[in-house]
């Protein structure tokens, strides 16, 4: 049985605990990277990561791009939306098609 984890700064994620997800507040990139590694090895199928943290540990997250589980999904934090999540989708499109045909320069 798999679970869902949320990783990010405390203010952005504490609400998710009420829904029954496991929340892991982290303060530094090192801590986040370590925590992510632990979570990925454990029984977590989905890990939501705030964009601020995602930006810091991008290389760690890229490692899980091609494996089936876990799915690491960026979500906007309390400090606002940086457009990072959309950029990820865009990267996928560029990887597959060769050029961006979905977004057509709408969010640069």
């Amino acid at each position: 049985m798999y679970r869902i984890a949320v990783l990010g700064d405390r203010d952005s994620i504490y609400g998710f605990a009420a829904l029954g997800m496991a929340t892991y507040p982290v303060n530094s990139a090192d801590e986040a990277a370590k925590r992510l590694k632990k979570l990925a090895e454990d029984k977590f199928a989905v890990i939501y990561v705030t964009e601020a943290v995602q930006a810091q540990i991008e290389s760690e997250i890229d490692r899980y791009r091609t494996v089936q589980i876990p799915a690491i999904i960026p979500i906007p934090g309390v400090s606002g939306n940086t457009g990072m999540g959309m950029r990820n989708v865009k990267t996928s499109v560029e990887q597959a098609v060769g050029s961006d045909i979905i977004f057509n320069n709408e969010n640069k």
Binding site: I4, G15, G20, A45, T66, Q68, M86, Q95
Partner: protein, 221 residues
Amino acid sequence: MAKTHVNPTRMELTRLKKKLVTAVRGHKLLKDKRDELMRQFLELVRENKELREKVEAGIHAANKNFVLARAGMTDEILNVALLSPKQEVYLDVGTKNVMSVDIPVFDYKTKTPDSNDIFSYGFAFTSSDLDDSIQSLQDIFPSMLRLAECEKACQLLAAEIEKTRRRVNALEHVMIPELRENIKYIIMKLDENERSTQIRLMKIKDMMLEEAHHYSQRERA
């Protein structure tokens, strides 16, 4: 001219011809696979984009509510209220096969039978803003899960499409032209050999006839 050395023999020719047939067939199949993958991918990526917009807007709204809630209560009360969540979510992970790419399918179960049973506190000391914010998060939770599914599928499909595209290109621009060239080279070489054998035979026949009947001497006489 062929880049690599090939033996100009009939056996090699047959082998190469067979290889070419396989390569052409493989090329066609892979091309079809790529096209279908692409179709599926574009469908998914559009859904992914919509979901992401929805989820980001939802989380943004929920965060606004949370800020309001925090402003209305002390930190201690808020911490205590969310200290021990009574709800837990479990995921069943299945897989769906899309053109030989296994993409995950998430199915969620909650610990308590009512999935709306999310308030882990009494309502006496907390502000109603907290209730609102938790409820708003709960409302977008199914979308968030679908987003996770969708985004993962997109990533996996993108990797597979890239791989397939490379294979198609390698077959189309390297393997098949090279095989064709080698086959052509062998055929020309064999033809050339045949012609030279023919000429040699004709020449030998001439010489043998000359030896038997002495045409040139007779002509002189």
